[in-house]
């Protein structure tokens, strides 16, 4: 059980929750959250939006979609929430300049990814592309950590993305967008994509979140959610 420090809407239906937590967590990793007894039955996966080891604050950014996220949105400071994790493998530690592409709620893990990268490689540059269908949200904190932030509303963000010599790409968003990004970036750039699948266990035992890779099936929860572009086999849908 962890204690909630704050939980409020940053936009209609988009919430930010800060939880007291300390430990090791890599950008792109996720937690299984629950703040209810047995209804809904399963815990819900959420990736780390931000983490400050000094104050022991873990931040989630989430959209209210159904019963679970609705219940989460009704919590307040000092309420308890169950955090199980961190799970999975996050984004790798890269040494080149970075391009980061987020679509909708896919922006969630990218803030911590950029912050962590900048902390480790002060001289390297990060350019961030954030794409939204209707309204933007959660852009401000990116302005504080990235060298350049490009916001796009409506349209297709992957068409706007430019990748320069020697840059590595991180992406997170709907799986169709991840595929478009995989196709759009020239082969010589390493591309790391965070995928989304419905999950039951979140720990690699139910095999409900398998994706096809060149090394056979892998689980998004345990082997991912971040995969290298060339590992993934998209044919037949993820």
């Amino acid at each position: 059980m962890a204690v909630i420090k704050s939980n409020f809407a940053i936009e209609e239906g988009i919430y930010q929750m800060e939880v007291a937590w300390t430990g090791d967590v890599t950008p792109g990793q996720f937690f299984m959250l629950r703040a209810w007894d047995r209804d809904p039955l399963l815990s819900r996966p959420f990736c780390v939006h931000d983490y400050d080891p000094e104050s022991g604050t873990l931040t989630f950014l989430y959209q209210v979609k159904g019963k679970g996220t609705k219940l989460m949105s009704e919590l307040g400071p000092m309420d308890a929430i169950q955090l199980d994790g961190p799970h999975g493998n996050g984004f790798p530690d890269v040494k080149s300049n970075l391009v980061v592409v987020g679509g909708g709620m896919g922006i969630a893990p990218l803030l911590y990814a950029v912050r962590d990268f900048k902390a480790k490689h002060k001289r390297k540059k990060v350019r961030v592309y954030l794409g939204y269908s209707f309204e933007s949200y959660g852009v401000e904190p990116f302005n504080d950590v990235a060298d350049d932030v490009i916001v796009n509303i409506g349209g297709i963000i992957t068409e706007k993305v430019e990748v320069k010599r020697g840059e590595t790409v991180f992406g997170c968003g709907p799986n169709v967008m991840m595929r478009a990004l995989a196709d759009a970036v020239p082969p010589k750039h390493p591309v790391y994509l965070s995928l989304e699948k419905r999950m039951a266990c979140g720990m690699g035992v139910c095999l409900g979140c398998s994706v096809k890779t060149v090394d056979g099936n892998k689980q998004v929860c345990a082997d991912g959610p971040v995969f290298e572009r060339d590992e993934l086999i998209w044919e037949g849908g993820l």
Binding site: L41, S43, R198, A200, G204, V205, C206, L207, G208, G216
Partner: protein
Amino acid sequence: MSGALLTNFAGVPFKNPVIAASGTFGFGRQFEKIYDLSEIGGLCTKGLTLEPRPGNTGERLWETPAGLLNSIGLENPGVDAFIENEWPHLADIDTVTIPNVGGSDLESYVEAVSRFNDLPVKLIELNISCPNVKCGGMAFGMDPEQAYAVTKAVVDESAHPVMAKLTPNAPDLVAVAKACEEAGAAGLSLINTVQGMAVDIDRRRIVFDNVYAGLSGPAVKPIALRMVHQVVHAVKIPVMALGGIADWRDALEFIMIGAQCVQVGTMNFVDTTVLPDIAEGLETYCVQHGLSNIDEVRGIL
């Protein structure tokens, strides 16, 4: 531990009657990081087939009120890879590892089960009840004659006792249970998942590529109780009961109606320590009620 939970199932001793259900526990490695597997009576492996299987395409999970629909489709590395990579590790753990074996025809069942003949396996769970693979699986568990044929063929070739895992989707479950007993099964486990379906109105699609999927979790418990009750009264071989068990009280319900052991599946996803918690809860119950063994309340209803 007082010994109150020591349970004999078809000649196999279990330190307690609480066992992980197939497909919800992998090969134990993930749970080993959370608790000592010697705390639980046993574990059933993910369903194993002769050849590796990639499992089903499309959506594989869909939550329902108090339940879970799955269409995994027996994704597994194959019996040989299991024996090479997982068995040596599991064999060192002080718990009963029960390989769960599936097949698509008589030959593949027999061949897969016989791969275990030279290993010190104590019990094999024969999966004749998976609703998620088109070829075979559940087809064998639907009909008493087919269930008899596959169980007999496997029992004849297996060096180890065989427990047949039954499907609640069989039109006459009791007849299937009796057929398995007659074919030489040492025990039965039930229930596998209840066939169900889901529709995604937003995408205007049937959720699963395979159309139908298997329902598990607390939603199915009353059905499982009824079926276990019917079966324990119809056969003499022991029954491992499962379907929706979430805590020690649920486990005790099944034991009171005559289950020798219980398995827990879906709830492992919800609460990762549910298995040792149930064992502990049953132990406490025995102590509090002055039972020297849980057998004193087994089958009292």
